[in-house]
């Protein structure tokens, strides 16, 4: 891959480094690599400590973003795999965000995603993971997030994504019922989805539901034109996308809308050029990393969605990302999984 | 009486009206020693609010700044027989009757000053409920905000679009994206521009009467500027662009006085100054007051508080503002305008084909200025005679002949102003202006700012006053942080946790 168009590594001492108004029209490639690489290094970092309750997802965000930038070798594969292994709950089979915390569907998917990326699924008890996920399905087809009973379409997505990566979807859960539940969360007003039946459409949950239908090969159930219209209306004059009408744009919503439109074959309904400008404007040219909006504090979560969004838009120098899994496409190919995608209309 | 009073001050301010209080606070704020006195036994001078009894007393005893006072008790209305002269006077102290009532633009000079100086923590406001206009002799609410336009039944759907489009164009005017047509109206009247937009008569009335507050001769630029001022104040607090100080406008000068006192200003009420003397070269002025001599580097004085010996320098006291004040048992306008007992409504009235105007502020008990079930109507117009009732006759006719509320009490008076206030070079005393005819406090603040800058050329006018917790003790080293300098909540958290975890075997 040719990185000559990108800013040189910071220790190379290029002129751009001292420039306070560093260029946000270009991807600050090495700054971001450095940002992610350093993210977990200072254990005494306050931000890092206070976010331990979602550490597993944090690792997934970092690992995925680095792999998309073809810099995965900057992280220590062995210690990450060891960490993931330690987080599997010996009783339930689910994964906790870190040691000392309880297992949850959200971190179970993150763990499986990380291990898939490292091609190391064999180090954990996959049967136990399947048992965990299956055990959380409810009679109406919905999924609990954990044993405490919160129901949300996010967990439907987590369930089928986890099982798809483990290639265990078919014989485990009741897919028909799961589909019926997700479709009961579809709103007639705009064709979008909320977190539960009757809930307002929201780009994040639309991504979960469209992703869910993509994994269960049921995209034909969508009213693609209606939903596509609502989604492309999320683009604002700044080029960024918001998650709901009359809200501010955000890099992570940009990903959710963008990936949904990609799965539905309607990526061309928004201005890719303006979105790219917006995402790039959310880079922190000083420390690296992306923030939710221009000028805000960067974090690892928005960094993945910034990089992921640019990859979907075809930014050069980035590996292709799979819109359904939000993982590098080559890994999905390696696993031989084919989430459904609609062709251009 | 206050014989332990120091005898030397940087600044002595006579009168505790709005502008004087601003100046006193501003001087005190920058470390000047300030003595603030008033010949009355109350704060605020002609800017104060009074109980009903005190107000009547004031009207009975003309003073240099207030004259031509009169008041009348009316027969209680059939619908409200319980409100008699006696019952009203029983509740005298529940009234805050303003001499100089006004409203403030939410983004206007007053609010900006209160926020900037951090004086806002002393004040409390009510957002105005309605801005009204008279249309075909009927009192209607002018839709101010986006949601007002959406909800109003007085405009058709097309009128709503026209109004919104017009206001948006005004709002954008002056920015890069301002449309070309607007430029063609520079130098012409605002009314011409409005007519060219082909708005309906009703919308034109809304804009001219209530939003731009213009008359036929107002220039395009003036109209635009005023409309923008109106729009800029929208959406900050409540549904209209205006605020009214809770418990009456008399609260405001006192807010500034409090700030002045916090920074060491000394207050003396009921103290008048008999004479002020100075010599051309001396750096001091001498005040004789209650048999004592006080020395000040500078003196600021309200027109009505000038010692008799100096008053002639400032010319004759002329009628300046004509005021009417009515207490009614029912509000003006329909139920829609007075939902749930009403709030504070504003109406600008025109007479003589727009040559003259008056301002009406209606207060319900939600303003804190009168008992529940009653309404205060403040009517204000620039004076042109010694008869305030006659000056206001055209406006009271418009208001009361068709929409008559049940009036229980009416009063009229004149506020005066010296003919050449602020212009007397014969004395080194800075004389503030009498209350101007204006909606907000712009002129009063400009006056205070101007006088302050003449005295203290290089100092900031009312910079932000720190909150008590922000005041830093000299010599504190911020890097030497210990638990005692932590924010309150964090310290509590640490304390809780350390107590709970006392037996923990964790190495610190």
């Amino acid at each position: 891959m040719d990185f000559t168009s990108f800013v040189k590594p910071s220790n190379g001492g290029s002129a751009g480094d001292t420039d306070e108004n560093a260029d946000t029209s270009k991807l600050q490639f090495w700054k971001h690599v450095e940002y992610i690489e350093n993210h977990g290094k200072q254990e005494d970092d306050y931000e890092y400590c206070m976010t331990e309750f979602l550490r597993m997802s944090g690792i997934y965000w970092g690992v995925t973003a680095l792999d998309i930038m073809d810099q995965l070798d900057r992280l220590d594969r062995k210690s990450i795999i060891e960490f993931v292994k330690r987080c599997q709950c010996p009783v339930s089979g689910g994964f906790a965000p870190c040691e000392g915390h309880d297992p949850h569907m959200l971190y179970t998917l993150s763990a499986v995603q990380v291990l898939s990326t490292y091609d190391a699924l064999d180090v954990i008890d996959c049967d136990a993971v399947v048992r965990y996920v299956v055990g959380l399905q409810q009679p109406d087809g919905s999924f609990f997030g954990d044993k405490w009973g919160e129901v949300d379409t996010r967990f439907s997505f987590c369930a089928v994504a986890t099982l798809s990566l483990l290639k265990r979807m078919e014989q485990s859960i009741d897919v028909d019922k799961a589909v019926r539940f997700v479709m009961s969360c579809c709103n007639q007003t705009d064709g979008g989805f909320g977190s539960k039946p009757g809930a307002e459409s929201h780009a994040g949950l639309i991504y979960c539901c469209v992703g869910f239908l993509s994994l269960t090969q049921q995209l034909h159930l969508l009213d693609v034109d209606k939903l596509g219209w609502w989604l492309c209306e999320r683009q604002l004059p700044s080029g960024g996308l918001n998650g709901r009408p009359e809200k501010l744009p955000d890099v992570c919503y940009s990903w959710w809308v963008l990936s949904s439109l990609t799965i539905m074959g309607r990526l061309h309904w928004i201005s890719a050029e303006k979105l790219q400008q917006f995402i790039l404007s959310c880079q922190d040219t000083e420390t690296g990393g992306f923030s939710d909006r221009t000028g805000n504090m960067p974090d690892i979560f928005h960094t993945l969605f910034g990089i992921g969004g640019l990859s979907l838009l075809g930014h050069s120098g980035l590996k292709a990302i799979n819109p359904t899994f939000c993982m590098p496409q080559y890994i999905i190919d390696r696993l031989g999984i084919q989430p459904q995608v609609l062709t251009h209309a | 009486m206050s014989d332990d009073l120091p005898e030397e001050f940087d600044l002595i301010v006579l009168g505790t009206g709005f502008a004087e209080s601003c100046i006193a606070a501003a001087a005190s704020r920058i470390g000047k020693t300030v003595l603030h006195i008033d010949s009355h036994d109350y704060y605020g001078d002609v800017w104060n609010s009074f109980s009903l009894e005190a107000f009547n007393k004031l009207l009975d005893q003309p003073s240099s700044s207030l004259r031509n006072g009169s008041y009348t008790w009316h027969e209680p209305a059939e619908e409200a027989p319980s409100w008699t002269r006696e019952t009203l006077l029983e509740k005298s102290r529940r009234f805050s009757l303003d001499l100089s009532p006004r409203v403030a633009y939410s983004a206007g000079a007053l609010v900006q000053l209160l926020i900037k100086s951090n004086i806002c923590r002393y004040a409390e406001f009510r957002a105005l409920d309605h801005v009204c206009m008279l249309y075909n002799n009927e009192l209607v609410s002018v839709p101010c905000s986006r949601s007002d336009v959406f909800n109003t039944k007085t405009l058709t759907m097309v009128e709503k679009r026209l109004l919104m489009k017009f206001l948006t164009a005004c709002n954008d005017y002056g920015e890069d994206k301002c449309n070309e047509d607007a430029l063609a109206f520079r130098g012409r009247t605002f009314l011409e521009y409005l007519k060219a937009q082909r708005v309906t008569d009703k919308i034109a009335t809304c804009v001219m009467q209530a939003i731009a507050m213009c008359d036929a001769s107002s220039s395009f630029e003036t109209g635009m500027q005023r409309t923008q001022r109106f729009l800029a104040s929208l959406g900050r607090y409540g549904n209209t662009p205006f605020l009214f100080p809770m418990y009456g406008c008399g609260e405001l000068p006192q807010c500034f006085c409090r700030l002045c006192a916090v920074f060491g200003g000394i207050y003396c009420l009921k103290r008048s100054v008999d004479d002020i003397s100075w010599t051309p070269d001396a750096k001091e002025l001498l005040l004789s007051s209650a048999g004592k001599t006080l020395r000040a580097k500078h003196i600021v004085c309200a027109p009505g508080q000038l010692p008799a010996t100096l008053a002639p320098h400032y010319g004759q006291l002329q009628p300046h503002i004509s005021r009417g004040l009515f207490i009614a048992a029912s509000p003006l306008g329909n139920e829609e305008l007075n939902k749930g007992g009403g709030g504070v409504n504003l109406l600008r009235l025109l007479a003589d084909e727009g040559q003259r105007e008056a301002c009406l502020i209606q207060l319900s008990h939600y303003s804190g200025a009168c008992p529940a079930g009653l309404y205060i109507l403040h009517l204000t117009t620039p004076a042109f005679s010694e008869d305030p009732a006659a000056d206001l006759a055209d406006f009271t006719a418009q208001l009361f002949e068709t929409n008559a509320p049940q009036i229980l009490y009416s009063a009229y008076f004149t506020i005066t102003a010296p003919t050449n206030a602020n212009e007397s070079a014969a004395t080194p005393i800075y004389c503030t202006a009498a209350p101007a005819y204006e909606l907000d406090y712009d002129a009063a603040i400009a006056d205070a700012r101007h006088i302050f800058s003449q005295i203290y050329e290089n100092d900031d006018f009312l910079p932000r006053a720190p909150d008590p917790e922000e005041i830093v003790v000299d010599g504190e080293d911020p890097s030497a942080l210990n638990e005692h300098s932590l924010p309150e909540d964090l310290r509590a958290q640490l304390h809780d946790l350390q107590q709970a975890a006392q037996q923990m075997d964790i190495a610190e």
């Binding site: 400590c49 309750f53 709103n187 007003t189 307002e200 929201h202 939710d292 909006r293 | 959406f150």
Partner: protein, 392 residues
């Protein structure tokens, strides 16, 4: 992590902040260690509850701590409930009375404890015992509700706090749903778009059996305050079809109500055409009702030549080959099969079959309970059916 503005700090501030953070971190770690130790020792007591409060108040997103609270609550309520049962059992003859009293005592507490019981001394003792336990039980739930309320003030979008609140209410057979409704009103005043609050409102109003009319009025008020409130329009769209059903099922609601809604949404669009909320709502109003939605196979076009038939659907229907699709004339009926998809989305299908077409006859295509009248294409004598887009 959303919406945090990056501010340049001076070296001093940075230093101060850092020290503050170190202290905070130390406190957090100490408490977490202690919590985990107590939990694994099975000490699900008030001290443990107290420790979780310290952290949750500042960071309600740590789901494990909520789980621990639930474990503690279950332990405590379980103990109280079995104590209650025991008490009732010892008063065997009066057991049913006592149980019945329980609710009455609850009510009495609110109505200023007027008439004390009239069942005699001995019984009243049992009742007070029961009442005291019941009160303790309620106190446990109240503590949880108060904590979630506090946490929601810190972060009104905390999934965990909202869920814990639901969980607590579900545990309590005497939950006060009206109070919850008031809470929704309060939070929606602070943030009229918080979808958590709207979701919670739907959950609560179902529990409290709030009439749909009342909910609709609430929506209308919210829209009057600010019509750029997509959440409110959405909530409205859920209420109207049940409140004002459309007899023909061809519109989302009755004609009369539809007129009113259109008037309202047009007013919004005329007031501010840039507000998108109204446009989505208007499109829904003008869209079709239940009929088309319920029809899984919607034919967009059909064409039939002597040697093949082609079918285009409005929406993909992968199970098409399993349907019976018939071409019917006055004299003959053809079973059209087998069907092959001609595009990936499975909206276009083809059936290669020999068919004799007599242009002088009338033909009908029958599928999935629909009968579509076909026309003849004069140029090549083929049969066709075609719905112009947006014909309805």
């Amino acid at each position: 992590m959303h919406g945090r503005v990056k501010v340049r700090t001076t070296e001093e501030e940075r230093e101060r902040k850092k020290k503050e953070q170190v202290l905070k971190m130390r406190a957090y770690r100490a408490a977490m260690t202690r919590i985990q130790k107590k939990r694994s020792a099975g000490e699900l007591d008030d001290e443990l509850l107290g420790l979780t409060v310290q952290i949750l108040q500042r960071n309600p997103d740590i789901s494990t701590l909520w789980n621990i609270r639930r474990e503690c609550v279950l332990r405590k309520t379980g103990e109280l409930q079995s104590a209650l049962k025991e008490l009732e059992a010892t008063e065997a003859p009066e057991a049913t009375v006592a149980a019945g009293k329980l609710e009455e005592v609850e009510k009495e507490d609110k109505v200023e404890k007027e008439e004390k019981d009239d069942t005699g001394e001995a019984d009243s003792k049992a009742v007070t015992g029961v009442a005291a336990l019941a009160q303790q039980l309620q106190a446990i739930y109240t503590t949880e509700l108060d904590l979630t309320e506090h946490c929601l003030m810190v972060n009104p979008k905390s999934y965990n706090s909202w869920h814990h609140r639901c969980w607590t209410l579900e545990q309590n057979p005497q939950a006060d749903w009206q109070r919850e409704l008031q809470l929704c009103n309060k939070y929606l005043k602070y943030d009229e778009r918080n979808f958590h609050t709207w979701d919670y409102r739907r959950y609560v109003s179902a529990k409290a059996a709030v009439p749909a009319e009342q909910e609709l009025d609430f929506c209308t008020e919210k829209i009057k305050v600010n019509f750029s409130n997509y959440s409110s329009w959405h909530h409205r769209s859920l209420l109207l079809p049940t409140l004002y059903p459309n007899e023909q099922h061809d519109r989302p609601m009755s004609e009369h109500k539809l007129q009113e809604e259109l008037e309202m949404v047009l007013t919004a669009a005329f007031t501010d055409p840039n507000d998108s909320s109204a446009w989505f709502y208007q499109r829904w109003l003008l869209g079709s009702g239940a009929q088309e939605r319920d029809q899984p196979v919607a034919v967009a076009a059909f064409r039939c030549w002597p040697h093949k038939a082609q079918l285009a659907l409005k929406k993909p229907y992968p199970e098409l080959p399993q349907l019976q699709i018939q071409l019917i004339s006055e004299q003959q009926t053809w079973q059209l099969q087998p069907w092959q998809p001609t595009n990936g989305e499975k909206t276009q299908w083809q059936c290669d079959q020999a068919i004799y077409i007599d242009p002088s006859q009338d033909y009908v295509l029958a599928l999935a309970g629909q009968r579509l009248k076909l026309s003849v294409q004069p140029s090549d004598k083929s049969l066709y059916y075609f719905v112009p887009p947006h014909a309805t």
